[in-house]
Symmetry: C2
Subunit: 338 residues, 2 copies
C-alpha cells in the first residue's frame, strides 16, 4: 500500500459519510440528474462536515468543460488593459468561469509560447488583445477548436470575431480635428519602441490625413520605454525647447499626452495658443485636470465585457469559421487643447 501525499476528501469520502454511492454525490453537487431532496441534504451536510472541495481538474478532464477562459494581454502596466481584463473577468465570472491570463510584453514570440501554454488548460475560449498574431499562434488556436475573441482592434482579418475599433480611423479623426483648428506643423510622440501596433495604426491614419491636407510632420519622437506621464513631460519639454517648434503634438496615448499637458500647465504654456495637444484613450484621471485634453474615448471595459460574454454565454451563437468584426466605436473628446 502506498502512502497518499495529501489526504484531501473526495466524493467517495462524502459518499461513505452520507451512506450513498459516489455517483449520487456527484449528482447532488452538480445538480444534474435526479436526486431526492432528502439525499441531497444529507450529501451537502456530509460534504461540509468533512470539508470536501471539488477537484476541477478531474471535473474538467472527464467532462471536457473547464470553466476557464484564457486571456492574453500585452501588459498589466497600463490601465487600458486592466480595464479590459476587468470587463472580461466580470462577464465570465457571471457564468461561473474564471480567467487564466498571461502577458506578452508586446512580443509575438512570447505570445506564441503563452498561447500554447494557456491552451494546455483546455479553456472554453480565449481572448487575445489585438488582431495581429503570428501564423503559428493563429494555427494553434484554430487547431484547438476553441472559441476565440480578439479585442481592441478591427483593422485586419480576425481569426473568428473581433470586438474593437479602427485605430486608423481614430488617428485620422484626431488629425482632421486638429487640421480643422488650423494646426499645420506636427510632432508625433510614441513609446514602446514602436511595438504597440495599435498606436502605429493610429499614427498611420493620422499621417494620411495630414498628408492629404499638405500639412507637415516635423518629427517623430518614439521612446523605447513604456509610456508614462513623466516620459511625456520630458519629451514635450525637449520638443518645445527645440529651434523648430511645431504648433501641435499628437501623442500615442493619454499617459504621454497628460505628461505634456502637465508640462504646459506647470510652465504657463497656453494650449492651444502656444501648442496644441491630443492624446488617445480618455483616461479617467484627466477629468481632474483644469484643462481638458483633446482625446478619443474608447470603450475598454465594454470590449472586454462583450468578448467575455460572447465566449461564455450559452445563448450566444458562435461563429466558428465566419470572420466578423464588431465595431464598438470611439468618441472624439474635443476638450480644450486644440
Amino acid at each position: 500500500m502506498t502512502i497518499k501525499k495529501t489526504a484531501r476528501p473526495t466524493m467517495i469520502d462524502v459518499a461513505q459519510r452520507a451512506g450513498v454511492s459516489q455517483m449520487t454525490v456527484s449528482r447532488a453537487m452538480s445538480g444534474k440528474g435526479y436526486v431526492s431532496e432528502e439525499v441531497r441534504l444529507k450529501v451537502t451536510a456530509a460534504a461540509k462536515e468533512i470539508g470536501y472541495v471539488q477537484n476541477k481538474l478531474a471535473h474538467g478532464l472527464r467532462s471536457e468543460n473547464t470553466q476557464l477562459v484564457a486571456v492574453v494581454l500585452p501588459t498589466l502596466g497600463n490601465s487600458v488593459f486592466t480595464d479590459v481584463l476587468t470587463g472580461i473577468t466580470d462577464a465570465v465570472t457571471q457564468h461561473g468561469f474564471r480567467p487564466v491570463f498571461g502577458v506578452t510584453e508586446y512580443s509575438q514570440e512570447s505570445e506564441e509560447e503563452l498561447v500554447q501554454d494557456l491552451l494546455s488548460w483546455r479553456p472554453l475560449g480565449i481572448v487575445l488583445a489585438g488582431i495581429e498574431h503570428s501564423e503559428t499562434t493563429r494555427k494553434a488556436i484554430i487547431a484547438s477548436g476553441i472559441r476565440v475573441a480578439e479585442i481592441m482592434d478591427i483593422d485586419n482579418s480576425p481569426i473568428s470575431i473581433a470586438f474593437g475599433l479602427s485605430h486608423k480611423a481614430a488617428g485620422k479623426k484626431t488629425a482632421e480635428y486638429m487640421l480643422s483648428k488650423g494646426h499645420r506643423r506636427f510632432v508625433y510622440v510614441g513609446s514602446q519602441g514602436g511595438k504597440d501596433l495599435r498606436a502605429l495604426k493610429r499614427f498611420e491614419g493620422f499621417l494620411e490625413a495630414i498628408n492629404e491636407e499638405g500639412a507637415t510632420l516635423i518629427s517623430t519622437e518614439i521612446s523605447t520605454l513604456p509610456s508614462s506621464l513623466a516620459g511625456g513631460l520630458r519629451t514635450t519639454e525637449q520638443i518645445l525647447s527645440a529651434a523648430d517648434k511645431p504648433d501641435a503634438i499628437y501623442y500615442a496615448n493619454d499617459d504621454l499626452a497628460a505628461g505634456g499637458l502637465m508640462y504646459c500647465i506647470s510652465n504657463g504654456i497656453r494650449t492651444p495658443e502656444d501648442i496644441a495637444l491630443a492624446g488617445f484613450n480618455a483616461l479617467p484621471f484627466l477629468d481632474a485636470f483644469p484643462i481638458q485634453l483633446t482625446t478619443i474615448r474608447t470603450p475598454r471595459y465594454e470590449m472586454g465585457w462583450q468578448a467575455g460574454k460572447y465566449l461564455v454565454d450559452p445563448n450566444h451563437t458562435h461563429y466558428a469559421s465566419e470572420q466578423r468584426c464588431i465595431d464598438v466605436g470611439f468618441e472624439l473628446i474635443t476638450g480644450d487643447t486644440c
Copy 2:
C-alpha cells in the same frame, strides 16, 4: 449550431506516430526519466506534426502538481493591485507557474466563495491581499494544506507568512511629519465606504499620533465610491469652501490626494501655506506634477514578487505552521505639500 468536441491528439497519438509507447512520450516531453536522444527527437517531431498540446488537467490530476498559483485581490481598478499582480505574475511565471485570480470587491463574503472556488483548482499556493479574512476562509485554506502568502499588511496574525508593511505605522509617520511641520487642524478623506481595512489602519495610526499631540481632527469625509482623482478634487473643494477650514488634509491614498493637489494647482491655492496635503502610495504619475505630493512610497511590485517567489521557488523553506511577518517597509516622501 452545436459545438463539436474536437478529437485533440493525445500522447497516445504521438506515441503511435513515433513508434514508441505512450510512457516514452511522457518522458520525452517532461524531461523526466531516461529517453535516448534519437527517440526524443522522433517524439518531439511527431508531436509537432500532429499538433499535440499537453493536457494540464490530466497532468495535474495524476501528478498532484498543477503549476497554478491562486491570487485573491480586492479589485483590479486600482493600480496598486495591478502592480502587485504584476509582481506575482513575474515571479511565478519564471518557474513555469500561472496565476489564476479573482477579485472580491472588498467583500469578505465574496472572498469566501472565491477562495473555495480557487482551491478547487488545486493550486500549489495562494496569495491573498490583506491579512484580515473570515474564519471560514482561514479554515478552508489551512485544511487544503497549500502554501499561503498574505501581502500588503502585517498588522495582524498571518495564516502562515505575510509580506507587507504596517499601515498603522505609515499613518502614524505621516501624522508625525505633518505635526512636525506645525499643522494642527486636520481633515481625513477616505473612500470605499470604509471597506478598505488598510486605509482604516492608516487612519487609526494617524489619529493616535495627532491625539497624542493634542491636535484636532475637524472631520472625516468618506465617500462610498472607489477612490479617484475626480472624487478627491470634489471633496477637497468642499472642504476648502466650508466655514471651518483645516490647515491640513490627510487622504486615504494618492488618487484622492492627487485630485486635491490638482484642485489647489488649478485654483492658485498654495501648498502647504494655504493647505497641507498628504497621501499614500507614491503613485508614479505624481512625478509629473509640478508640486511633489507628501506621501509614502510602498514597494507594491516587490511584495507581489516576494510572495510569488516564496510560493513557487523550490529552494525556499516553507513555514507550514509557523506564523511570521516580513516587513517590506515604506518610505516617507516629504515632497512639497506639507
